[in-house]
Symmetry: C2
Amino acid sequence: MEITIGELSKRTGVLATTVRYYEDVGLMPAPPRTAGGRRSYGTAHVARLAFIRHARQLGFEVDAIRELLALNARPDLPCAEVDVIARRHLAEVDGRIERLTALRSELSRMVDECGHGRVGECRVIEVLSDHGECLGHDH
Amino acid sequence: MEITIGELSKRTGVLATTVRYYEDVGLMPAPPRTAGGRRSYGTAHVARLAFIRHARQLGFEVDAIRELLALNARPDLPCAEVDVIARRHLAEVDGRIERLTALRSELSRMVDECGHGRVGECRVIEVLSDHGECLGHDH
DNA sequence: CTTAACTCCTCCAGTGGCTGGAGGAGCAAG
DNA sequence: CTTGCTCCTCCAGCCACTGGAGGAGTTAAG
């Protein structure tokens, strides 16, 4: 099976330009070329790119994906490291959710208090102008 | 009151480099300069920068802040537009939280199922390799 | 008055993770 | 043979900064 970058793109949902970018940054290997100089991919490339795409969709950073790919290539190793990477990422996602939730409550309080009058008396503007108006001062 | 960019930075918690950046992109006005060519700020600048900083902390994009600042300068206008910007942003934050929460559950399921054996049998790697393993297929 | 330490100045490059365009060449169908 | 598509490389831009180089102004101590 020899497919073009366009076909690879269709099968994985990753843009051809992004595939070339992944090659540049070392996530994807440089594939063999046809006589005309075009990239020629096989099933292994499809699987690897699907892995990368899925990991990106789950929010893993490119560096983490590099580590995961390296581990994936060594199935005999204990998977403790994989676990560490995934848990680290989970903790980061938890942190992001927490921060966004706090922010959301600040925002919604702000919006609720807007009396729909003039800008001069708008609570949204007031709250933005004065951090002291916030319930949580941590942001 | 005439303060330097460093003092402005201290009072607002915004880096001096970032203040100059805000000037470049038109969020902050170009202030008067001293004889030696240094920027000289006053109380209005401090207030404006505090407003910007707070809005950024609440996740407003620079474009939205530009709009909010323009509205802030027109206290006689009805605050409907302010409301629209804030609600739009709130909706976006809600969307982000939703997506992150879905992602979090996928991640935590993945981590929970890891049997701490070899990479070859690791569920984390398997799930990443096969999108079909996910409960939510929307990401 | 000099010197050292500090802040400030401008300009430019880099971050992450792509995305898009210019300008040119390969390739399949009519 | 030509049309239209895909592909190639290289480079610039996105967002919102951040940091460094290299130079000049400023302040306090000696």
